[in-house]
């Protein structure tokens, strides 16, 4: 059971890190702000979700697991809002970065 | 090398970088930023010394840690006051700098 949890953690966290890496590459390589934003949010929300999911088997108690999920949900909320605001600012600024 | 030593070297470089930026950058906003770098480096040095004082089942000496918490809040109030001063100077002169305007052409 412990071993199974550890394997799941390894796999899920690695997958999450791959998404973070992809998002970072997109952030650095994409041509304009909108596409960069797209790369960042898509990759980060999925990446963080996978990392949190992978850490759940390591949580010492249910309360700790709930805290991890709360962190993920709050980040989703903040991330979605900030993306909206940044995109709106780009739109109003006439598309310049 | 222990992690504490590594972060100690990091804090030394931070202090140097902050000092250099404060001396060289001409804009007040950048000077405020560099001052904050300098402060962060100093706090980190406190943290390293606290870490080396780990004892009694604690990860570090709580006294320097508590002092750093106080220090961070005081550094914030100093930054807020400095920024307010800068914005007021900007309001009065239209220039975000402390240099004297060359000739008093506006009046």
């Amino acid at each position: 059971m412990m071993l199974l949890g550890d394997i799941a953690t390894g796999l899920l966290v690695s997958a999450g890190v791959v998404f973070f890496l992809a998002g970072t590459v997109g952030l650095l390589r994409f041509p304009d702000s909108m596409t960069r934003l797209h790369a960042l949010t898509k990759a980060d929300s999925l990446g963080l979700g996978l990392v949190v999911l992978g850490l759940l088997p390591q949580a010492a108690s249910v309360l700790e697991a709930l805290k991890l999920v709360a962190v993920w949900l709050l980040t989703q909320l903040a991330g979605a809002t900030v993306t909206q605001l940044v995109a709106r600012a780009i739109w109003r600024g006439g598309g310049r970065s | 090398m222990t992690p504490a030593t590594l972060y100690g070297l990091c804090s030394a470089v931070l202090v140097g970088a902050g000092l250099y930026g404060m001396l060289v950058n001409p804009q007040p906003l950048r000077k405020i930023l560099s001052l904050n770098l300098l402060g962060s480096g100093t706090f980190l040095l406190f943290g390293v010394i606290a870490r080396r004082g780990a004892a009694a089942g604690l990860g570090g000496d709580p006294v320097p840690q508590a002092m750093v918490i106080t220090g961070i809040v005081v550094a914030f109030s100093a930054t807020a006051l400095a920024v307010a001063l800068l914005l007021r100077v900007f309001q009065e002169t239209g220039r975000p700098t402390l240099d004297q305007p060359a000739p008093k052409d506006g009046g």
């Binding site: - | 606290a50 109030s77 506006g106």
Partner: protein
């Protein structure tokens, strides 16, 4: 070399890289953004130094609140230097429009007479704005001298770090010895609220003084009014949704952080900073206006935290224990009560510091309150 040390090394490189970016970035705004990221990474470094309390404070106050103040300042300086070229339906503003668009006075409208130096012409100020200034840099010899000086300071500190690599003298034993008597498990909170309560009290006074300093930069004409150049209109849907959804959660989290501060990382500063963030969010979304700084109720609330702390401290004289000492039987409830009041007052003062001096004249009704 262990894997953990490798991760530490990577973190140090990131922190230092961002620090150099803050110094070297072309525009002030970019430098501020770099500084916020720097603060968050530094919080990770604090975790690696086994200082969770400091990590929380660094992330909330050192990076968050400081970042909010600096971002607002950088935006103002940039907006004046470089108005966005293509706002739909708005032509590029001329100089007087630029000033009024920022909520500052158009020349000649100033009734207070405190506008001593009219603004320099636009083209003149443009040169000195972050990102546009090359002429203001000091000469090569001066920069070299600064480099040598900073290098010497760094080398001295690095030498100190390397040559004193042994265990440092520590007060950890002394700090933990009396914690059970206070009913506490977190030594850092114990130091802040009990052993070195005087430091914390004086820190509150520093916050009050800073707030007094910021408020005193208000122009005569708008004295007693509200911060921010103009009432922030109710923003767009996403921000309003966040500002309605997040504060209840944030308040719960802040109370939790305050409560666990007795035994785990957390406490009054961290909880207060979270409350501040919620308040600023509500103000930025335009749901609630900033309070007028002339309001007597506001001023009483600002003074309440340090006053309560001081009252508990002075009560130590009446009880036979002494200034700022807690009778052991009621130490824990007393400490929690002091912390709760401190949290609210810290949240209020931090928020007011972020909001800055008044920039709108007070309503006539508010003058009387």
């Amino acid at each position: 070399m262990s894997l953990a040390l490798l991760a530490d090394g990577a973190l140090v490189l990131l922190v230092l890289g961002l620090a150099f970016w803050v110094n070297a970035a072309a525009s002030g705004f970019a430098a501020v953004v770099g500084y916020v990221a720097f603060g968050l990474l530094l919080a990770l470094a604090w975790m690696r130094l086994a200082a969770g309390d400091v990590a929380l404070t660094e992330a909330a106050v050192g990076s968050g609140a400081t970042g909010a103040v600096l971002v607002a300042a950088a935006m103002r300086l940039r907006a004046a230097a470089d108005p966005p070229p293509s706002w739909p339906g708005v032509s590029r503003p001329s100089t007087p429009n630029r000033r009024s668009a920022d909520g500052r006075d158009t020349p000649g409208h100033d009734g207070g007479g405190d506008d001593l130096a009219p603004p320099a012409p636009y083209s003149d100020s443009h040169r000195d704005v972050p990102g546009h200034d090359e002429g203001g840099k000091p000469g090569l010899s001066l920069r070299l001298a600064a480099l040598v000086l900073s290098g010497l300071v760094t080398a001295g500190l690095a030498g100190l770090v390397l040559w004193t690599a042994g265990p440092a003298p520590s007060l950890a034993e002394a700090a933990t010895r009396h914690l059970p008597g206070l009913g506490m498990g977190n030594a850092v909170t114990g130091v802040l609220i009990a052993y070195r309560a005087l430091d914390t009290l004086l820190e509150k006074v520093v916050l009050l003084l800073a707030l007094g300093g910021v408020w005193s930069l208000t122009r005569d004409r708008v004295w007693g009014g509200r911060p921010f150049p103009r009432a922030i209109p109710a923003g767009n849907g996403a921000l309003i949704l966040l500002a309605r959804l997040l504060p209840p959660i944030g308040i719960v989290v802040a109370v939790y952080v305050l409560w666990v501060g007795a035994t785990d990382p957390g406490g009054a500063f961290q909880g207060g900073a979270i409350l501040t963030a919620m308040w600023i969010l509500v103000m930025l979304a335009g749901l609630r206006d900033a309070p007028p700084i002339g309001s007597r109720r506001l001023r009483l609330a600002v003074a309440a935290g340090p006053a309560a702390f001081l009252a508990v401290g002075l009560a130590g004289f009446v009880l036979p224990t002494g200034f700022l000492s807690y009778p052991e039987s009621i130490a824990k409830p007393l400490i929690i009560a002091v912390e709760a009041v401190l949290t609210l007052s810290i949240a209020l003062i931090l928020g007011l510091l972020v909001a800055g001096p008044a920039e709108r004249p007070p309503d006539p009704a508010e003058r009387l309150r």
